[in-house]
Amino acid sequence: MKVTAEELKTFLKNVVTMIEEQKDYLCELDRKLGDGDHGVTMSIGWQAVNEKLDGDLKEEVDCGKISILTGRTFLSAVGSSVGPLYATGFMRGAKAFQGKSELKDEDLKDFWVAFIEGIKERGKAEVGDKTMIDTLQPALESLQADFEKSNNFLSAFESAVQAAEKGMESTKDMLSKRGRSSRLGERSLGTTDPGAASAFMILNTFLATIKSVQVA
């Protein structure tokens, strides 16, 4: 498959829209587990990205630059926990896109692998800590394994998103160990981790975007 710079920007725009829709839900999850701002933070960050998409990035065709600026913009706008995490994701992923205005299967796979590895390195959380890593690590493993066999990004990413969803859902039954809710104990049970949810939503939005692009 091929993803153009324009389509990459469509993906980012779709995340912007999706986050506005999910903002309240993400805050709701964070109110139960943390300080209640995850939806707000994501919204502030993605709105800033949106401005860049309509501004500095309007004519940009280098996918690497698009990804780097997305990360930097997001980070500058929000800080917070997810600022460094998602920003590191986009900035590390950017290396796979550097100088490219069209992305092939391999590039896309490399992007997401670097994206997730970057977040892991930045946050140092582990599976089971009840963070976005519970979404991202299974996705990473599935993506790598599938792609190795199939060399087909779309199908590999499709199963990665399924693995991500399962990972996200597994956070419901976990005790918090990282971040603001680590002392919650039993009371953290039953609620999905907000970062695990937003991470799934981002992956899922990417999938939906490339699928619709594929069809069109």
Partner: protein, 334 residues
């Protein structure tokens, strides 16, 4: 919840604008980054820079504590969200006089990552030496065995005060870090929440408690605490808070301490003094000497109802720092 604001997404910008206009002789906004504020007078040559910061919504913390004897600069995040590396980095560059900069901030995942990235960049880009002290005073936020995981809450005031005083007295970076770290190690806080706050953007209460309930150990951002229970008289609440502190950090007869009874937002001074009264009774019964007291809203959670008690053990060195004068827009000590 009703708020006197304009655009909910612009509250931090407008607050900073008002703040800087109110105290032009004390603080200025950096041209390089509007979320970085530094003292209006340039940091003294040869002095270690003291940088604080964190999410907004805790005023007077953190912006209120920039000034003589306290911090040289502050990086201001969104409400309840760590500032990104940029303002931290810009403030660092602005206050460094070649003697290095100490970062004092609360131990939250976000702050650790953002201040950590800024410290790296300060070193890489400008060769500025940065020392960091992460405040971990909240007893309720992790068991003693995992003390280093604890959050920073009101006790950050004392750690900032000690760092600020030591830097003002001409200590070098290593020594400022050493005494600030000691202040943190000697500081414990326990809080109680009564009524929630709400983020301007959502307007939703951060948590729910029944009309007769309180929550022990509730976090500074409305993070759920360790125990919900029926609201008790102030004395019993204080007994519980002080007991948890003293169990975690035993204090010997004859030792000196500083005490902070801190309001979280909508709790009145009247209530805080009633609480202080009990803290004083308990400590004087145990033969612990209160060297200096602070009662008021020093670190809030927007309009949250509730309070915390902070106790800092003081050796001679720390006592002198606590007594050191300060002149900040929201905190002055002679």
């Amino acid at each position: 919840m009703k708020k006197l604001i304009n655009n909910p997404t612009k509250v931090v910008e407008e607050m900073i604008e008002g703040y800087v206009k109110a105290y032009p002789k004390h603080v200025r906004q950096l041209a390089e980054n509007e979320r970085a504020l530094v003292t209006a007078k340039a940091t003294r040559e040869g002095k270690v820079g003291v940088l604080i910061g964190g999410g907004s919504g805790h005023e007077p913390a953190f912006i209120g504590y920039v000034g003589d004897g306290m911090a040289d600069g502050v990086a201001v995040g969104n409400i309840f969200a760590s500032p990104p590396p940029d303002p931290i980095l810009e403030a660092t560059k602005a206050i460094d006089k070649g003697e290095g900069v100490i970062y004092v901030y609360g131990n939250y995942a976000g702050d650790v990552m953002n201040f950590g990235m800024a410290a790296e960049l300060a070193d890489l880009e400008s060769g500025i030496r940065v020392g960091s002290v992460l405040v971990t005073d909240d007893v309720a936020s992790a068991p003693k065995a995992e003390k280093e995981k604890r959050r920073g809450i009101a006790g950050e005031f004392f750690v900032t005060k000690v760092a600020g005083a030591a830097a003002d007295k001409g200590y070098n970076l290593d020594d400022v870090v050493r005494v600030a770290q000691k202040a943190n190690d000697y500081t414990r806080t326990m809080g109680v929440g009564l009524t929630p706050c709400s983020l301007p953007q959502t307007g939703k209460p951060s948590f729910e408690l029944a009309e007769n309930e309180m929550e022990i150990g509730l976090g500074h951002h409305g993070e759920p605490g360790i125990e919900k229970g029926e609201l008790q008289p102030a004395d019993q609440v204080v007994d519980r808070l002080v007991n948890d502190i003293l169990t975690d950090m035993p204090i010997d007869l004859g030792e000196k301490v500083a005490v902070l009874v801190n309001g979280l937002g909508s709790t009145t001074n009247m209530e805080l003094y009633i609480m202080f009264r009990r803290v004083e009774q308990i400590l004087s019964e145990k033969g612990i000497e209160i060297h200096r007291s602070y009662v008021g809203s020093y670190s809030t959670s927007l309009e949250m109802g509730g309070a915390s008690v902070t106790i800092t053990r003081l050796d001679e060195e720390l006592a002198a720092f606590v007594d050191h004068p300060a002149d900040c827009p929201m905190y002055v000590q002679k």
